[in-house]
Symmetry: C2
Subunit: 259 residues, 2 copies
């Protein structure tokens, strides 16, 4: 229970939500639940975890959900908005390790360890559900399906990181950006939005940090993709014109790039 006590500064759901909206804090009535921690839990299990969400928290654009190195207390599920996660090392390097959108989980790397390794910053006004670790531990012991789901979600995070390693280790710049755009497209689609048209919530510099490129290179690639008819770009608004063209780029050999 110490983890729950540690987030006491945040108002519990009951106090924050007027009675009329209170239901919205329950996983069972949340339309993002399939994407989120509950996944394909059946109705009975779903009802049992309804007070797993200890609180909600709203963040403004640019605000930090937690800092790198901060004490781990809870994982967070994104209810609305989006975030970037940033890694820091002791020598002044910074690297964006991922972008996260509605239904995705933040802070998994702190599970069972003392601290968050990456910092999480809101890329727009956002809202998250706070899932205290103590509650997660308890519910996972009681509900086998949830335990398994947590493992799945953790494994998925590892697989996601592997994708980034592959991208950084083996792809040339244009393939990295193509991968990035296709990934955003797929996640946008999965959330019921357009797969071909979306708004980038992050800067060229943040994209560059994520992809292991400089912002100028990212900018040039956007222009180049536009020139060959793969996409339309207007600042942060992107429309994909030729999905297969982007996919084809990934199959090209990566000359002049590490194996």
């Amino acid at each position: 229970m110490q983890a729950a006590a540690a987030v006491i500064a945040i108002q519990p759901v009951e106090k924050r939500m007027p009675a009329a909206r209170k239901h919205a804090a329950n996983c069972s009535s949340c339309n993002l639940r399939e994407l989120c921690l509950p996944g394909a839990l059946d109705a009975e299990d779903l009802a049992r975890i309804d007070n797993l969400v200890y609180a909600r928290r709203r963040l403004k654009r640019g605000e930090a959900l937690y800092q790198a190195g901060a004490e781990f207390k809870a994982i967070y599920a994104i209810r609305s908005g989006s975030f970037k996660a940033s890694l820091f090392d002791g020598d002044g390097r910074e690297q964006v390790s991922g972008f996260f959108m509605a239904g995705e989980l933040l802070g998994l790397e702190g599970l069972g360890s003392g601290a968050y390794q990456a910092g999480a910053i809101a890329l727009e006004d956002s809202e998250v559900c706070v899932l205290p670790y103590a509650l997660i531990e308890q519910f996972c012991r009681e509900i086998p399906a949830l335990q398994r789901r947590l493992h799945t979600v953790l494994a998925r995070e590892i697989v996601r990181d592997h994708g980034v390693m592959m991208l950084l280790g083996t792809m040339r710049a244009e393939q990295r950006l193509a991968t990035f755009l296709l990934n955003l497209s797929a996640r946008s689609k999965r959330r019921g939005y357009s797969s071909s048209e979306f708004h980038l919530r992050m800067s060229r510099e943040e994209i560059g940090s994520y992809l292991g490129l400089k912002l100028e290179t990212v900018s040039r690639l956007f222009s180049q993709f536009h020139d060959v008819g793969l996409i339309d770009v207007d600042y942060r608004h992107v429309r994909i014109l030729d999905v297969q063209g982007l996919e084809r780029m990934l199959r090209e050999p990566s000359a002049h790039v590490p194996n």
Copy 2:
């Protein structure tokens, strides 16, 4: 139990081990346990998980413990020897995602998902403990300390991957190799071996794949490190002469490399 049944081809511990050596299959009598899954479990909990190790398996150099994409049945703890994990994508790219040594766990990314994402190959004659997922799930429900430990271990794997992302995304070639050598040194020390002198079990090409470099570059860097007095190299035998020199390299700004 289906996971345990699926590994039936491997002889259970009781059958493989003569009575005199049988104890060696128990975590409680394994001198690697602190590094491994059990971690700092107390004696009582340790006794309870003694048949978590369903079997042992020996592999020869070059043999695959499991292939990428194979059905996930168990995680593996390295009892002796070492492994590389390799990632593959659909477009013919390959990337070494890590090197693993005694006491470390393989196959975590398959937890709760259907399949291993990376393949694991023995870099020398090795032996592993087989930990069936069904048993892990069950023991974690019964033993809170083990549940937490599993989370810690999973989170550590994520943190490890973040380190690789940082390395690939922000460091120049010589910093990558320095990081690699310092990492091997620390892990060697932690296992009771020399921190300054060790034998590389992997080829230059495998190192290169891991570091996002070509094998020729790796080779040149070894020579260069030798020339400036940082290390002695004789093929795969390495001796670190100047730890602080290597550490100093990491602090240098990374001109001509992504942010």
